[in-house]
Amino acid sequence: MHSLVQLILLPPLFVAAFNGMMGLFAPGYRKNEWLIGGLATAAVVVPFAVTVSIFLGVHGEAEVVRYFTWMAAGQLEVDFAYRIDPLSLLMTLIVTGVGALIHLYSIGYMHEDPGFWRFFAYLNLFIFAMLNLVLAENLPVLFLGWEGVGLCSYLLIGFWYADLKNSAAANKAFIVNRIGDFAFLLAMFILFAAVTGRTDGAFGLDFTTLLSADTLGALGSGTILAVVLLFFVGATGKSAQIPLFVWLPDAMAGPTPVSALIHAATMVTSGLYLLARLSPMVLEAPGAMAVIAVVGALTAIMAATIAITQNDIKKVLAYSTVSQLGFMFMAAGVGAFFVSIFHVMTHAFFKACLFLGSGSVIHAMHHVEHELAHKGRIPHHHKPGSDQAHLDSEATQDPLRTDPLPYDGPFDAQDMRTMGGLRKYMPTTALTFLVATLAIAGIPPLAGFFSKDEILFMAFQHGYNDHAWAYLVWGIGIVTAILTAVYMGRAYFLTFEGRERWPDAFDTKPHESPWTMTLPLVVLAVLSVVGGFFGVPALLHEALPFLPESWIHHWLGADYGGPVAEPHYERHVPHATEWMLLGLGAAIAVAGVFIAWTQWGRRGLDADRALSRRLGLFFGLFSRKYFVDEIYDGAVVRPVVEGSRNVLAPFDQKNVDGAVNGVARMMRGLAGRLRVVQTGVVQNYALALVLGVVVVVALMLFV
């Protein structure tokens, strides 16, 4: 096991270092795209294979593998130790499995990009950090991975750093995450102080000790509440919930594989993993759980309302991710941690499929854009820093010859208003996108139906057991589910159905993407179909015994010996109600997709106009993202920047620099005055010598 875990963790790190160093110091290496991409993909496939082999053998009992001591100071003793149990293995499978597919996809997507080698180095580094996060046995190693994925997210969002907008987005992601990280650190400090206050031995914040009944019983309920809330704040940063979700839509500035891997399938689920890992502790803080569920619900519906109004296909998916993460937090908040992990898994499948599909579309629309620019139908759009301007003839810049676009600014390959009818040209992409859309909408028997329905049912059951607020959460979840089906259907229909809306559509046609991009799409679409069957609820299993009973529950749930704690309910929702809820879930999914079809499938962009009319002022609120960015800018960013500029900067220049310079000036003055001793006259020196002798002799004689 010792060496197997090394085989999981080390390949991504080594290949990242190799690709990075070779790419940096041997410019000739950068052209071997297949070598770089192949090595990088292999570095993720190997851990996947190893994990599969371990997974098939392990049940229940956790195994801890210890490597070497990291920090030893006083009562703190932290080792690099990793934990093999069903939860960490499942997360590792998701990370490496989906990660490997995305690595393969990136070989096609990043073709001919000058930073190809850098991209794969960063991607592998990300995988390494994420594996540290999910396999960690103690909180410091988890935090190491936590920060590591934040770093890689920053590097990858700002990958095309020459455009300052991308760098700004990367900064935003990192800074907002930092706030959450601060809360995480505080929680660790409180835990350490609380535990070491009671015992004398060394403590390394490891899960075995931390989650044992003794430790949890010894910590006061106030401490546990504070710690869980702080960890939740950390989770809101990493998993983009209110109030720290603002970085995720901006993060779409990065290449699409990054959005798929980091901001859909893996990094953003770290918060959920943290809560699931700490589930025994979270269950001891019911107040915090209510907060978690309500925040999750509010985030879910807020993001869903924003998503209906967005025109950039990646922004729709970004807000969809925020919304779905809200669902997962709803599940965690009502105690159904294994259901939230189940949704993590199914979401990884269909969201990655959706993002990669959108990447395929964007790739195709870029080709369209280039062709149109060559023909002069749209003005050339120059990348910042390029010197192409002087090569354009007047004809291609003539506003009378170029076609107007439905939006301001240059042609945007990501804007759905200039897409449409792509199914004819990209059938594989269209089909996989459709499957993933139906999955996320919750159409049975695709994956999203099972996981989302379980979440809603668990919320309902929590409410049934005298937690009335959980009914509110359930209600919000139902509304959000309808909205999800609607906006995802809208995205599909606007992109792939209807008329082609870009200029010169009769002559300029996009084409399907290469196999390196379509193969992962197909695999993920298949997983979106069958992934749900890992968590078939007991009800359905009783009715249709050939369906396996919730594997997820058996793997992860504490009732079956797994690592994820579960709440215990006194009253069970009656079967009839359960069937009704199941039917309701399916019905709203179908209804949502139907609405999307009648509106955007039949009428295209006119439906957007109708929606804006119908919603009135609310449309403005939604499409402006509730003005959250503006509020933060005014309430937080501007005061800090202006305060720094007007108060701190002068203080630094006048007082701090003044003090430092003042000390220097004082020394100079002192030295100037002392310099007088150096007369250069030897007799003075001789006199000093004699006086010294006198003093010494006197001391010897009289002291």
Partner: protein
């Protein structure tokens, strides 16, 4: 009045002090060298007196060493004074302050 040891030591101390004062206060480099010689001779006197008083001849042997060293040092010192004179045309030590800070 018996000439005891103390008399010789006192004389030696007085001679030594006069020598020190000469080194510190006189401006002419050659006079300073004279004062140094005076100091050395004072020490010689001390050594001989004590040697005679304790009956140990080691003191007188040391005097030979001191005398030879004094001679060598006087030679070297005068050579330096001559070299400085050639450069600065003065033997006034107050005027030789190239090390002034």
């Amino acid at each position: 009045m018996e000439l005891t040891l103390n008399w010789y030591l006192s004389l030696s101390a007085v001679l030594f002090t006069i020598g020190v004062l000469g080194v510190l206060l006189r401006r002419n480099a050659i006079v300073i060298l004279l004062a140094v010689e005076l100091m050395l001779n004072a020490v010689n006197l001390t050594l001989v007196a004590l040697s005679q008083s304790f009956g140990d001849v080691d003191g007188q042997i040391l005097v030979f060493f001191v005398m030879s060293v004094a001679a060598a040092e006087a030679a070297v010192g005068l050579a330096i004074v001559i070299a400085i004179y050639r450069n600065k045309l003065t033997v006034n030590v107050d005027e030789i302050n190239l090390f002034r800070g």
